[in-house]
């Protein structure tokens, strides 16, 4: 995993992380927030960034503490660590960005049971050293962030014809359905399918 190698090696690795090993698409994880939060770009960005921070902090903590956690109680311990960081993030978010916290609503505490965070802690951070866990966290988290932002962008554009609150195409009011549950499922499904098609054409070449 030569991420700190030359320029081309890093590029190849970035593509690897965003496309091949993207947590939402390849591992099918973290779908809950991806569908629910991406009604607009601001929410998506905030949620993705918060998840990235929580992921980063908890993988560091787990990686440091991995020698002291007994194998059999590891899941509750990891959940405790993750929920501690989520609570901290929640408090910071409520203090600094109360409107954003209000619009994210119930999904901020739900970061604690986000499959991505627990999966990374369990399968990677508990077995690898600090540096590799940090790299893994950043790449997984940014893959997730990218997915959320793309989804949020599409949904906001089609759903309410605004980007970050600014209207784009004149009088077009937007399809409201896309802002609701249907849009979330649909958008994610289309992105998925596009990525699958992209992957298979790449393989054939």
């Amino acid at each position: 995993m030569s991420i700190f190698g030359g320029g081309t090696a890093m590029k190849g690795d970035l593509k690897h992380w965003f496309v091949n090993k993207n947590p939402v698409f390849t591992m099918g994880m973290g779908l809950c927030p991806a569908i629910a939060v991406t009604t607009n770009v601001k929410n998506a960005l905030c949620m993705g960034f918060c998840t990235l921070c929580v992921l980063f902090a908890s993988t560091i903590t787990v990686s440091i503490a991995r020698k002291w956690i007994h194998y059999k109680v590891r899941i509750p311990c990891f959940l405790l660590i993750i929920s501690m960081w989520v609570t901290i993030a929640d408090i910071i978010l409520t203090a600094k960005f109360p409107h954003l916290r209000q619009s994210l609503g119930i999904f901020v505490p739900l970061m604690a049971v986000n499959c991505i965070v627990l999966n990374r802690a369990d399968s990677f951070a508990s077995k690898n050293n600090l540096k590799e866990s940090m790299i893994d966290a950043i790449s997984t988290g940014s893959g997730f962030l990218l997915v959320l932002v793309i989804c949020g962008f599409l949904r906001e554009l089609i759903g309410s014809n605004k980007i970050l609150g600014i209207s784009t195409f004149g009088h077009f009011q937007g399809f409201m359905a896309v802002s609701y549950a249907f849009g979330g499922f649909f958008c994610l499904a289309l992105l998925f399918a596009a990525l699958n098609a992209f992957k298979t054409t790449g393989e054939r070449k």
Binding site: A36, A112, V113
Partner: protein, 193 residues
Amino acid sequence: MLVNNIVFVLMIGVCPFCALPKKMSQSLGMGFTVVGVMALTGTISYAINRYVLMQNNLFYLQTMVFIMVIVITVQLIELSVEKFWPSAYESISSFLPSITTNCAVLAVCIMANNALSNQHHASSFAKSTVINVGCGFGYLLAVILMAGIKRKLEMTEIPKAFRGLPIALLSAGLVSLAFMGFSGLTFIPLFGG
């Protein structure tokens, strides 16, 4: 349960949902287990929230405490089912880990406990119980629907890019569109909450 269905309208609990079992009996088992877990954890966390956390102004510990409650409850349920109903245990043992980290269970705990901070105590226990059980049944409904859809999907030709997760998400999306049609319904004005 219909108006604010936890999967199709509130979009919570989707993670294990798309990779769910296809057989009707398995999904029934999972659905009922989730109902039981939601009801139990909702009640316990409500009690803890009201008598311990609220009294001592420890509101911010909510997330951590609820997760611990869920983990412990699921473990207890697993142990007791293993002891008393071994046959049932075999069928649901594979779901229990995913139920532990299911967004839906935690969401129900939090939603049920938000009812606490707004109302008179006597009525809010009833309200939160209704939320617990109702969301559980909503999840059960969602699981059954998806299992049925998946069985039908197995017999059709799906374009290669759409196989697996995308088509499940698409069909869930169409079902959620249908559920939007329920949005005018009010049986009892408790679900709006």
